[in-house]
Symmetry: C2
Subunit: 362 residues, 2 copies
């Protein structure tokens, strides 16, 4: 109930009976001051409960000590962990995180970046729908504003903390192929708004081709379909001869298992499933999930370090992709029957739910 309004350095100076400049010097240890006045100022600050206003500082130094962080959604543990990683890397540096999320909306992405920039952040760490097409991001980049990406493949001059989705997906195709699988499918939740999913499909597709497998079926699910095992089962059952599914994230992979059970199929006997991300939970399932392990926290940390370097005027150096690890699990096994159907089957891949979209490379 006591003092409602803030106390400024002016109050401290008055209380200590000295000038503002002196008080500032004492409190920041940024210049000479006699022992006597030094003590008076310290005491006054203590008594008044003074603390510097970051705003005044920011205005004068034109550095807000704040960095902006944009992710699609914190409800996705992968992004939440990444932000936590950023946080950790920034702790102790004096920087705070101003956060924003776009809910996977490209327009919201732009809006968010503009807002963060208006708040005078000193740098930006970003995961968005389409970094290369965002006008706000492009403008910032042209101005030489410190920028750092997460999860995206690097763009010329724009460093990104990422994993090689394409290569990781090829690894999955390789495993499928070596076990004898032929008919495969790739499941994704937000294919159109996630370059990560698209790169994974591209890699998966490329390796299947390279090994003479039929093209994998590409299935984009709606939220409803992903969360309702019955719907998912219906979709899966339209895929004749399907023996292996690569899901674009672990939650989807778990949903597939549930759906398989509903279809009376057994994992991995009738259907192999591989996920992506390597969330902890997959390891604890009754049948541990085979998946590609990534480290979102490490991505956040790397992005933060890259940005810190950039803000200190360092050169823009692109780190190599973070390591990934194929985690073996009970959900991956050889197909039940060595199905010797020929690959020319005109019905594969089926067109239901098939999504045509421009793939990166191929």
């Amino acid at each position: 109930m006591s003092q409602r309004q803030k106390i400024t350095i002016k109050d401290v100076a008055r209380e200590a009976g000295c000038g503002i400049a002196t008080a500032s010097r004492v409190l920041n240890r940024s210049g000479p001051a006699s022992a006597e006045v030094c003590e008076r100022v310290e005491k006054a600050a203590q008594e008044l409960g003074f603390s510097f206003s970051a705003i005044g500082r920011a205005l004068q130094s034109s550095r807000s000590m704040t960095i902006g962080c944009l992710v699609p959604s914190l409800a996705n543990p992968v992004f939440a962990e990444a932000v936590q990683g950023v946080q950790e890397a920034l702790s102790g540096t004096g920087y705070q995180i101003l956060i924003a999320s776009s809910n996977y909306d490209g327009e919201a992405d732009n809006q968010a970046i503009a807002t963060l920039l208006a708040k005078d952040v000193d740098g930006l760490i970003v995961t968005m729908v389409a970094p290369e097409q965002s006008v706000a991001l492009t403008r910032a980049r042209q101005r030489g504003f410190p920028l750092s990406l997460m999860f995206h493949d690097p763009i010329e001059g724009l460093p990104s903390a990422h994993v090689d989705n394409f290569e990781a997906a090829r690894e999955v195709a390789r495993r499928f192929c070596e076990l004898g699988h032929r008919r495969t499918a790739f499941l994704a939740l937000r294919f159109s708004t996630s370059d990560r999913s698209r790169n994974r499909y591209a890699g998966f597709h490329a390796e299947c081709r390279a090994r003479g497998l039929p093209d994998p079926a590409l299935i984009e699910l709606s939220e409803a379909e992903a969360n309702t095992p019955r719907l998912l089962a219906e979709i899966l059952s339209t895929l004749d001869g399907l023996s292996a599914v690569f899901a674009s994230n672990d939650f989807l992979a778990i949903a597939v298992q549930k759906a398989a059970r509903l279809m009376g199929k057994s994992v991995p006997r009738d259907l192999s499933v591989v996920g992506f991300d390597g969330v902890e939970i997959g390891r604890l399932l009754d049948i541990p999930l085979a998946t590609i392990e990534t480290a979102p926290g490490a991505m956040g940390r790397q992005a933060a370090h890259t940005l810190l370097d950039l803000m200190q005027g360092g050169p823009c150096i692109q780190q190599p992709p973070l390591p990934i690890n194929f985690r073996a699990g009970g959900t991956l096994a050889p197909p039940r029957t060595e199905s010797r159907d020929d690959d020319q089957g005109a019905t594969w891949p089926p067109s239901v739910h098939l999504l045509k979209t421009d793939l990166k490379q191929g």
Copy 2:
């Protein structure tokens, strides 16, 4: 590469050939302006790519349009979802979120609050280790600073968006009891730093007592134990006659299932398990997890709305606890044998890993 430094309203005014005040009025539509000068200013702002500096504004209006948000960790999906909820409630209000996390450390909590306050946030939404013991929080409260809690039970004069952990835990005890369970255990990961866990145990304990059941064993796990099913199995196997486990969160509950499998026990035939939180994943397991469903996102939204009201000078009104829902699941069933051992067994609850701590009420 073009202009490296920011363009201010001064630049716009000069370009438009008018005074700063006029430019401000035009751009904010906050005062009269002739159509002609209006157009010139708009055009100049457009061409220069001007956007207001939030810092200048904040300094002058002493409102930063930023609210601080402190949670233990974003790596915990429950808190991440809550922050996402805050975000949603704040979207469109012009407020941004400055985030901080303490990693479940009470000292870091204090430090974080001080930092956020120094950044001149307009309000604070907080989940911390010990809100009532934090000097930083107490000082803020005394100053009448807008504060809003999440997850905690309300404190006099400090509104909190929460669920009734005590009552929810009683519900679990009730279910256990009605199915015939007697020997129960309560598992928690961070008992000492989580009043939520403590309240759950208190409610669970109280209801067990009320129904004449032996006191539940209280087990606090380390991270290592929780994540290594073998270790967890060892601990569980020391509990003789145990037939039902209440885990303080869903991930723990899933780990218990895994451990049970390792022990050769079947869930729910040999061991019933109930979790807490109601994360989506539990529903997709082969045996859907029985759990208490909560809505972290809704908590975040409520906390944000409460804070907004508070910042507009509204009275401090404590909302009732958010509704929770017992979600039935395959992991809960009657115990295998109506074990008719007497309750006086001197070995129950076992002392291994037992944690003595001051319990709230109960």
